[in-house]
Amino acid sequence: MVDEVILLDYWPSMFGVRTRIALEEKNIKFDYIEQDLCNKSALLLEMNPVHKKIPVLIHNGKPVCESLIQVEYIDETWPRENPILPSDPYQRAQARFWGSFIDKMLPGLGKLMWGVKGEEQEAGKKEFVEMLKMLESELGDRTYFGGETFGYVDIALIGFYGWFDAFEKYGNFSIEAECPKIIAWAKRCVKRDSVAKSLPDSEKVTELVPELKKKKRVQYKESLLFIHGCIWNCESVLFCSTCEPTHGSVCFTFTCISLSPAGL
C-alpha cells in the first residue's frame, strides 16, 4: 500500500518547519497544503478539532497533531532512514527534555514580538536570551545537539531560526552577539537539504510581522469573547496563537491598555 502523507501547514510557522524537516530527513513524499488561518479549512477543523491549529500531519487519513509529537511519530513509523531520536533511553530522555525546554521559550517570544513596547518587550527579550544561552551551553562545542548526528533537538530549535531576523529587528538586539555558537550551529544546520528546503525565507517572515500584528489584535478580541465572555478580562488570558497551543503558560499577554477599544 502506498503511503498517503499530507501536511496542513502555514509557511512561516516555526512548528510546521519541524515536521517538514523530519519528513525530508526520511525522504517521505508528502502533499503540502497551505492553510489560511483567518479562514480555516473544513479539513483543518476536522483533523484538529481540539485546537484547530497547524501543523497537522495526516497519514493515510489519520491525523497527528502537535509538531514534536509528529516528529516522534515520523521517526517511529519510518525508523530505518536517518534516525531522529537516539536509541539509548537516557539520551532519548535528554532529547525530549530539551525539546520541551525549547517549547517553553514561546511565552518570552510572544512578549518580545507581540507584547506592549517597553517593559513587556524587554522582559520577553531577556527571557528568550537567557533560555537561548542555556541551550548554547548544552550544545557546547558539538556539531549538533545530537553530537555528530543531526537529530530531535536540532529539529526542535532550527524552526525558530527562520524568525531570528524578525526577533532581532523587533527586539533591537543581535542574537549572534549574545549566542555566537547558536548562530554557528544554525548555519551548519541550514547546509542540510532537509533544513534548506523547509525553512521559510527570513526576509519574507520579517515583512509579514506588521500584518500579523494587526490580525492578532482581531483574533485576540474574538477568542477573548469566546473563552471568557468579558472583553476586559485581560490578565493571564489564554491567547490563541496562529500556530501551536500555549505551552503551560500564556502565549501572548496583553495588558489592559492594548485591550481598550481605541487599541482594538
Partner: protein
C-alpha cells in the same frame, strides 16, 4: 530483569500530582525505588544539581543519572523497563496518547489552576473554561473503562491530576467544577481508577491531602471552605 543492581531514586513531593504519577509508573513496573521528599521552599543541593535548568521535582535518578519532567520520566521508565508497557506500541496510538497527556498538562491543568487562584467573575470564567476542556476528556471516555482503553495507561496516569487533584480541590474551593450530571463518564472513570491497586497505593491519602490544599490556600491568602 537487569543483572546489575539498579539504583532508582525519586526526588519528589508527596502532594504533587507530577511526582505521584512517576510513583504510579514505578509501582506498575514493580520497580523498587527510594523516595526522597523534597522541601520546595528550601531546595536541596541534590535537587539543584540534578535539575539545574528548572530546579523542580520530580527528578528520577537512575544509577545516579538524572531525568527531569514528569512526562519525560514516564517515557524513560517505559523505554528502560519494557514489561507492563504504559504507552501503546503502535506509533499512531502512541501519538494520540502523547497528545492527550499534553492536553491534560498544558490545557486542563493551566486553566484549572485559575479556579483556585482567582475569585468572583474570574473564577467563574475559569470554571467555564475548565469544563469546556473536560468535555473533550468526557467524550474520550465513552465506551471505555480507562483513557488507555481496557486497562490503565499513560493518559490515565497523567490524568490522575484531574481525578485526585482537580476534583479534590472542589471540596476546598467550594465549587463543583466537575458535577456528575455534566460528567458521568469522568466520574465512572474515577471509580474505575480507585479499583486499581496501584492507584490506591500511590495517591495521597484524602484527609491529609485536603488539609494540605487548605493550608496552601491559606498561606497564599486564597479563600477556602
Amino acid at each position: 530483569m537487569a543483572e546489575r543492581s539498579e539504583e532508582v531514586k525519586l526526588l519528589g513531593m508527596w502532594a504533587s500530582p507530577f511526582s505521584r504519577r512517576v510513583e504510579i509508573a514505578l509501582t506498575l513496573k514493580g520497580l523498587p525505588y527510594e523516595f526522597s521528599e523534597q522541601d520546595i521552599a528550601n531546595k536541596s543541593p541534590l535537587l539543584l544539581q540534578s535539575n539545574p535548568v528548572h530546579k523542580m521535582i520530580p527528578v528520577l535518578l537512575h544509577n545516579g543519572k538524572p531525568i527531569s519532567e514528569s512526562l519525560v520520566i514516564l517515557e524513560y521508565i517505559d523505554d528502560t523497563w519494557q514489561h507492563n508497557q504504559i504507552l501503546p506500541q503502535d506509533p499512531y496510538d502512541k501519538a494520540i496518547a502523547r497528545f492527550w497527556a499534553r492536553f491534560v498538562d498544558e490545557q486542563i491543568y493551566v486553566t484549572a489552576m485559575k479556579v483556585v487562584g482567582k475569585v468572583g467573575e474570574e473564577r467563574d470564567a475559569a470554571v467555564e473554561a475548565t469544563r469546556d476542556l473536560l468535555k473533550l476528556m468526557e467524550k474520550e471516555l465513552v465506551g471505555k473503562d480507562f483513557l488507555g482503553g481496557e486497562s490503565l495507561g499513560f493518559v490515565d496516569i497523567v490524568a490522575t491530576l484531574v481525578a485526585f487533584w482537580l476534583m479534590r480541590t472542589e471540596e476546598v474551593v467550594g465549587v463543583k467544577v466537575v458535577p456528575v450530571e455534566m460528567f458521568p463518564e469522568i466520574h465512572r472513570w474515577v471509580k474505575n481508577l480507585l479499583d486499581v491497586d496501584v492507584i490506591k497505593k500511590c495517591i495521597p491519602p484524602e484527609g491529609e491531602h485536603l488539609n494540605y490544599i487548605r493550608a496552601r490556600m491559606d498561606s497564599l491568602k486564597l479563600k477556602s471552605v
